[in-house]
């Protein structure tokens, strides 16, 4: 897949827009792994991610005409994927009311920096991925959008349907949830005041 910043597949996109099946195949071949991984991180199960990847590419056929060629295709594709995944989660109603409450219960004090540092250094990528699976839908979605697909705060706000000013709160709360999941207890994530 073309990472952000590398050359966009303009020619392939143009041909795909014109209905060239080979170009579609090329786009799918290039981008499907990244989109699948995005969905795998954002959705609860592997089957969900597989279904979502297929649906996103089906949707893409109809949406490709809306893509502005002057912008990053990768970013646009991630936006489509994020919207689809969030819609999926929303339709399933697995977004809990608790998550809305979360916005109000974010502790904004210092966590213990040394404990946080220790926690981060001790955890492997695999442990982080497992911990991610335990997070609430909104928290997981926010982290994936920000740290996997490098979406801006504006894009995240748009996808999640929250005010831009709350994106930081959502991300911070997500990190706290992640720490709780990593640590196994809420002590660190609760953020003891220094």
């Amino acid at each position: 897949m073309n990472a952000p910043g590398t050359t966009e597949p303009t020619e392939v996109i143009t041909r795909a827009r014109a209905g060239d099946a080979e170009a579609w195949g090329q786009l799918y071949h290039d981008y499907a792994p990244a989109i699948f991984r995005f969905c795998r991180r954002a959705l609860p199960t592997r089957e969900d991610a597989e279904d979502a990847t297929m649906e996103i590419f089906m949707k893409l056929k109809g949406k490709l005409g809306q893509y502005d060629m002057t912008r990053s295709f990768t970013a646009w594709l991630y936006k489509v994927a994020a919207n689809h995944c969030w819609d999926t989660l929303r339709r399933r109603k697995i977004r809990q009311d608790k998550e809305t409450d979360d916005l109000e219960s974010v502790p904004l004090e210092h966590p213990d920096p040394s404990q946080l540092q220790q926690l981060i250094e001790q955890r492997s990528s695999e442990e982080v991925r497992k911990a991610l699976e335990k997070l609430g839908a909104r928290a997981r979605m926010a982290l994936v959008m920000r740290y996997y697909s490098d979406m801006s705060y504006d894009e995240i706000a748009d996808a999640l349907g929250v005010r831009r000013a709350f994106v930081g709160v959502v991300l911070l709360r997500a990190r706290h949830e992640l720490r709780t999941a990593l640590e196994g207890n809420a002590a660190l994530a609760a953020g003891g005041t220094l």
């Binding site: 099946a21 579609w24 195949g25 799918y28 071949h29 499907a32 792994p33 699948f36 991984r37 795998r40 991180r41 592997r46 089957e47 597989e50 279904d51 990847t53 297929m54 649906e55 590419f57 339709r91 399933r92 009311d97 409450d101 916005l103 109000e104 974010v106 502790p107 904004l108 004090e109 210092h110 966590p111 920096p113 040394s114 946080l116 540092q117 981060i120 250094e121 990528s125 695999e126 982080v128 991925r129 991610l132 982290l143 994936v144 740290y147 996997y148 705060y153 504006d154 005010r163 831009r164 000013a165 709350f166 930081g168 709160v169 991300l171 911070l172 990190r175 992640l178 953020g191 220094l194």
Partner: protein, 561 residues
């Protein structure tokens, strides 16, 4: 914390640190944070830890720990070659099914009914019998039109859902409803009579329609309109200028009816004159030698005796039939036995499909010999054609399910979920399967409830098919795993439905399986409907958006916090 200079400092909160490393603070605040962390070791460590946390997250998420599933690797090829082909096949087969349904069932019936004097030019006319069967059908026409309009509006909303706002869709629906309400209401009846014994005296004339209900109804006078009767015993000796619609145990029409006679009775005997057509459902129907029907005769009866004269064609379904009178047109009959006696005069051809060859008197005056066809058994499992039709019907079912699932995705998913409560669904299914038709019949007994009763029956009948689709979806989920997505669910429904249809073709057991599926599915639908109308306790809503306690003058990404 003790009293070192650093510890006395006011530390940055974690939110500010996060926004700082994410470059979301405005320049001024960013410089403040930067200056603070020059001096504050704790906050600097926190920034560093948060930065590390970001990198850990990115690394963990970007690592490719599992390859692209083979399903996805093959998806593009499959989507291009296979899926479109399958859906094309399904649509093609469904279209064939619809055409076969029309040419095999609807068109012959339409032709027969046209020959029998109903002259329906389209299916809608055929269904409502040109408004003659029951006055309420006129309002049903309106309802059908409204439903058609709303269905079209709904389809339009589905097709253009991405281009219109929800408000526009609502406005569309409301406009449709308003249009429906603005439609002219059917003419109301002018006379209602109810009692143990209801009479219209000989010298009495009722101007307009008469609705009569009672144990015994006797009409000796004149009704200048339609006569609608619900009773135990009807005697119509007078004159009705419109139609007679009768629901009774015993009906005798000895007078004159200028219009049509329709109804469902236990016994009906006609000795008088009927200007137009007769269409009834009876246990026993007798047309006396002196009786005259100006138009056609359409009868569904166990025992049928026609000794009088019929001005046009006759369409007859019976167990035992006897023709001894004069029929000016064609006769199409279907039943167990048919006797055509010596006094019979039939000017048109006679077609009889029955279990036994008709007993035709040599003295009977027929335009041509009776064309007899042995009644065929419906299902012959040994014929390949039977299985071809099963495939076509399965495709038609899938298409029906596709339309239903697309138009009512949430309700369909609710019904599928309800079907997974096996006990409740089956129990409720038994109740609804037997209870609703009974309730519909009870509703029909009253004039007010007639429309509701017949509509309920139609809904009940349609749900027999929908039930199979719901069960198909459940079976599909058993095989392919649960899903709450619409299109995967439709896929599972298609697979499950094929299996269900296959099971229903098993000789002997198939019928019972189909019955069980209908009970189960119908219960699930009922359960979903029941739940839909249950009041939902709204979850506690947050009182107001929370504003994070940012330090004064803090701006997040240039926007006021």
């Amino acid at each position: 914390m003790s009293g070192t200079p650093e510890e006395k400092m006011k530390h940055l909160d974690e939110m500010t640190c996060l926004l700082y490393i994410e470059r979301q603070l405005d320049r001024a605040r960013g410089l403040e944070v930067s200056a603070h962390t020059e001096e504050c070791n704790t906050c600097r460590t926190l920034l560093w830890a948060l930065e590390r946390e970001s990198r850990l997250l990115t690394r963990a998420m970007l690592e490719e720990e599992e390859p692209l599933p083979s399903r996805l690797e093959q998806f593009q090829e499959r989507a291009r070659k296979s899926m479109q082909w399958i859906w094309g096949l399904v649509f093609g087969l469904a279209a064939t099914g619809a055409y076969a349904l029309y040419t095999g069932y609807i068109q012959p019936w339409q032709q027969q009914l046209e020959q029998a004097g109903f002259g329906g030019s389209n299916l809608l006319n055929l269904l409502i019998f040109q408004g003659a069967f029951w006055k309420g059908w006129q309002s049903m026409t309106t309802l059908l039109e409204v439903l058609a309009m709303l269905t079209l509006a709904g389809l339009g909303a589905v097709v253009f859902r991405r281009r219109i706002r929800r408000g526009s869709a609502l406005a569309l629906v409301f406009a449709g409803l308003c249009a429906a309400l603005a439609m002219p209401a059917p003419a109301a009846a002018t006379e209602f009579r109810k009692g143990d014994s209801v009479r219209v005296e000989k010298d009495e004339t009722i101007k307009g329609d008469a609705y009569l209900t009672g144990a015994r109804v006797r009409v000796e006078g004149t009704i200048d309109g339609d006569l609608i009767v619900f009773c135990q015993s009807l005697e119509m000796n007078g004159h009705v200028t419109g139609d007679v619609i009768s629901f009774s145990q015993s009906a005798r029409i000895s007078g004159q009816v200028d219009g049509n006679v329709r109804g469902a009775n236990n016994n009906m005997t006609v000795t008088g004159t009927i200007g137009k057509n007769v269409m009834t459902f009876e246990e026993t129907f007798t047309l006396d030698p002196n009786a005259k029907i100006g138009g056609s005769l359409t009868i569904f009866a166990a025992n049928l005796g026609v000794e009088g004269s019929v001005g046009r064609d006759a369409l007859l379904h019976f167990a035992h039939g006897s023709l001894a009178g004069k029929i000016a047109g064609e006769v199409r009959a279907k039943g167990d036995t048919l006797n055509i006696s010596s006094t019979a005069v039939i000017n048109g051809p006679v077609h009889f499909e029955g279990n036994k060859a008709p007993d035709v008197s040599s003295s009977a005056k027929l335009a041509s010999p009776v064309e007899f066809k042995q009644m065929e058994k419906k299902h012959d499992y040994r014929e390949g054609r039977y299985y071809v039709w099963q495939v076509i019907w399965a495709a038609a079912f899938i298409l029906f399910g596709l339309v239903l699932f697309t138009l009512t995705p949430q309700f369909s998913q609710d019904a599928v979920k309800s079907a997974e409560q096996y006990g409740a669904s089956a129990g409720l299914g038994v109740l609804v399967f037997f209870g609703v038709p009974i309730a519909a019949i009870v509703a029909c007994v009253t004039v007010v409830g007639l429309f509701i009763g017949i509509s309920t029956f139609f809904v009940w009948y349609a749900s027999l098919y929908f039930a199979q689709i719901i069960v198909g979806a459940v079976v599909g989920q058993w095989l392919m795993g649960r899903t709450s997505e619409l299109w995967p669910l439709i896929g599972r429904m298609a697979v499950g439905l094929i299996i269900v249809r296959l099971c229903t073709t098993i000789p002997q057991a198939g019928g019972w399986i189909k019955f069980a599926v209908m009970l189960w599915g119908m219960g699930a639908i009922s359960l979903a409907v029941y739940r839909r109308f249950q009041p939902v306790v709204a979850p506690g809503m947050p009182s107001a958006p929370f504003t994070p306690p940012m330090p004064p003058n803090t701006r997040v990404g240039g926007l006021p916090a």
